[in-house]
Symmetry: D3
Subunit: 113 residues, 6 copies
């Protein structure tokens, strides 16, 4: 299975369990999380890039993959993504590089679909 499919399938299956087993608080957090990225004064693409830069400096591969996928779907160009990568790299330092490698590999999978 490609990393893209593996990521989406584990994510979907566990989110389902979390929403079934979790408390009211857990569910509220998930709803809040989703709503935060809806277009407002900032459009959806910009919001995904904001989530991406935050995820890269916090070095969470799954979060990075999720926001790359969403940013691509919202129309982000490669150049816009690389400029976001650059900000994450300079803010977060070389410790971001291994995550950048996996981000670039994941972006390639997204573009290939």
């Amino acid at each position: 299975m490609s990393r893209y499919d593996e990521f989406q399938s584990f994510r979907a299956s566990l989110n389902e369990k979390i929403l079934a087993q979790g408390t009211m608080q857990t569910k509220r957090f998930f709803t809040l999380d989703t709503k935060t990225y809806e277009a407002g004064a900032l459009d959806a693409k910009t919001k995904e890039l904001l989530g991406l830069s935050a995820s890269m400096v916090l070095r969470c591969d799954d979060c990075i993959a999720y926001h790359i996928d969403q940013a691509v779907k919202a129309g982000a160009s490669d150049q816009e993504l690389w400029e976001t990568f650059d900000i994450a790299l300079v803010v977060g330092g070389s410790i971001v590089i291994p995550h950048l490698r996996r981000a670039v590999a994941f972006l390639e999978e997204c573009r290939a679909r």
Copy 2:
């Protein structure tokens, strides 16, 4: 091999190497670490939950797995574990979610034994 067995087996095998090859300081740290979770004014279950909330916000999958296993052995209920997850989620944010997914999958393995 299940994630539970893989985790326990790698952990045991490497801990043995660390205690054989490490310095006196390394060994002292490992001893200190173990003793910190012994029952005192707070019981063992509460201490494992404290270790769990700390591990979740620091986003360390192996540490999360270890404390879930220990908390289950100390008698923690699913509801107590989910309330601990909720605190980690609200303190640490959505960046905790991928770790929550793996925690929920691991808890399922612990309960199935």
Copy 3:
């Protein structure tokens, strides 16, 4: 002004501004945050200690102060607080020590009231 009064006054004044100026999402996050610490399967004191251990390893002085204050109000003993400090110290390492110093000074202020 004591650190206790300074902390409470800045916190109250800015929370008011945040709830007045923030978006619907900001307000929802604040509501969710408050509700997470209400007693459930775990009592309020344990939940505050869980918030405290998470805040100590993430090294946020204001969050540490807030949860110490709440834990004291919920009846936590000094021994229970020190055992929580010990878990945060061993999980988070010596980098936690400067925050432990400020935590101990703050706890002294709370007890003096």
Copy 4:
């Protein structure tokens, strides 16, 4: 002195010392840092908001202040800033709140000038 003036004056004075005393590498890092925020496929305002969301989840007050100041100068509206705050809050969790308080106080100073 207002926090705005204190921040700008310490920053300017120490940056001067760093560029005078630092190595060639230090200087290169500072140049790289500045260039990363120049307008490209993404405009300067968006880049400052990306730096802001990264700085908020990493919880660096001075970095947050710097990017708020730059974003305001690049024309960011309050609504755009609050939507960026919301993303940082949901990604980074309640541990971001004390930094959000100081961000809101700093933004007020920026708008008052």
Copy 5:
């Protein structure tokens, strides 16, 4: 494939893509990163150990693997590596332990070559 070979091969292949697709800023960051570890007042071995202690407390397995490999090539002894591990362990806490396990396993692979 051994973890050593897998790590080196993914790293080499993705670095190539990054330098081909990245912006001028991305490339400058990579150059700066490499130059920082060249011998100066501190020799190359010491600089790799400094990179290693930083990578361990930030808990980045790939960065840890890279600096262990470089430190070994620069002549670091096992005792010097363990004393570096100890500093990372005491500064960063027990959350570093899972990374220490993987570091010890990786060092074994490096020594076996």
Copy 6:
């Protein structure tokens, strides 16, 4: 009071309280912490620089101040300190810069004594 005196005086006074009020575990952690920096295969100066690079990327001002003071006492030159700063800067990114500013100001105080 200079930042140097303020730092040393608060540190000494609170460490005294911690060792008086803390548990056996707290005291053991403090002993372990001190012993980790004693000369071994690596000399004391190198160990302080390792503690410094770790403290800078974890962005703890008090820890940075402590290790600069110790490194200076162990004979570290300005050039050695700047090369350590550079490694921390490239590993940890621009988020380290505000801490670098305070480190440079603190080093100046140390040299002035």
